[in-house]
């Protein structure tokens, strides 16, 4: 029983990596393989839009991987292949789109929000510091003192 469990466990553990690389691709040299791996990690699958080509099993992604592979084999540069895809699918196909008027807000947005947050924080800190301590009047102090007293009385009792 125990041995069977260990066998099943071993089988499932080793099955993972085997599944990850379904397609076997042959390259002329390691540099081509590196270029291919980099490209399919950078290009977006248009069907499952939050996956890259490497992760997606959508049929279009399979075909786009094949196209990428063919171009890598023809020794096209990374830039040429990326441009080929951008010409057809637009900047959206790149996970890191270039900075231009269309993508300006996309690139600067997070920093703008950070700045707004910092400004709000600075304002609230300044406001709190500006409140003088003696703005609390005597009656309020007395109520507070009596409340504290009654609390301690209760605890003593």
């Amino acid at each position: 029983m125990k041995r069977a469990l260990i066998l099943i466990l071993a089988a499932t553990l080793t099955a993972g990596p085997a599944m990850a690389r379904v397609e076997v691709k042959q390259f002329d040299n390691p540099e081509q393989e590196e270029r291919y791996d980099k490209l399919i990690a950078e290009l977006r699958c248009l069907v499952c839009q939050n996956q890259n080509l490497a992760d997606s099993n959508a049929e279009l992604a399979v075909d786009m991987r094949r196209k990428t592979y063919e171009m890598v084999k023809q020794n096209k540069s990374e830039k040429e292949i990326a441009n080929f895809m951008v010409e057809r699918y637009g900047d959206f196909v790149l996970y890191r789109p270039p900075l231009n008027s269309n993508t300006l807000l996309l690139w600067t947005g997070p920093f703008l929000i950070l700045l707004i947050g910092l400004a709000l924080l600075a304002r609230s800190v300044r406001k709190r510091r500006a409140t003088p301590i003696d703005a609390i009047d005597d009656t309020e102090l007395k109520t507070a003192a009596s409340l504290l007293d009654s609390e301690s009385d209760k605890r003593d009792a």
């Binding site: 279009l60 094949r66 699918y89």
Partner: protein, 182 residues
């Protein structure tokens, strides 16, 4: 009072935004997954594909020069394609619109069976099992319909089923203006 109003205002603003956007999505006017095509105003990419009905022949963009035409990407696996089929038949038969089909990632026999059953709205059909032409045209789903004018420039694209409303709004004028029968 004013402190409580801030989260309330934020909530109402968000609710309003969702109401608006989801409403547009429901009516089919807004699709967040839509990728704007790169080809409007550009020359139509050439393709040369085997003819689905006669693999010895090829279907190419060149033959279509001189008149406006539609390119429709479809497959039997795509439910919206079945939905729009009747309207494509109407366009081809009643309005005389030339439609070239690209049968995408499909089984040739199944595709032919579908056309036999429902009728064939296409002048010619290119068979594209490996997405060759599809990638060249920047297509990422089916159905997609392109309009190419007489000079070979892409003028319109619609992702999703062709409907009378879409036809009127985006496509019809190109065919009446150019003297094709309407």
């Amino acid at each position: 009072m004013t402190r409580a109003a801030v989260p309330l205002a934020v909530f109402l603003a968000m609710a309003g935004l969702f109401w608006f956007v989801l409403g547009k999505m429901n009516e089919g006017e807004y699709n967040p997954r839509d990728v704007p095509t790169q080809f409007i105003g550009r020359e139509a990419p050439a393709f040369s594909l085997p003819n689905l009905l006669d693999p010895a022949k090829t279907v190419s963009t060149e033959a279509m020069r001189g008149r406006p035409w539609l390119l429709n990407v479809w497959g039997t696996w795509c439910p919206e394609c079945w939905k729009e089929h009747d309207y494509l038949l109407h366009l081809a038969r009643r309005e005389g619109v030339p439609i070239i089909g690209i049968n995408w990632r499909d089984d040739a026999d199944e595709a032919k069976a579908m056309l036999n059953r429902l009728g064939n709205p296409f002048e010619q059909i290119g068979f594209d099992p490996n997405s060759d032409a599809v990638i060249d045209w920047g297509v990422y789903g089916a159905p997609e319909t392109f309009l190419i004018d007489a000079t070979g420039i892409v003028r319109q694209k619609h992702a999703g089923a062709m409907t009378p409303a879409v036809w009127r709004e985006k496509f019809r004028s190109y065919f009446t203006d150019n003297g094709a029968s309407s």
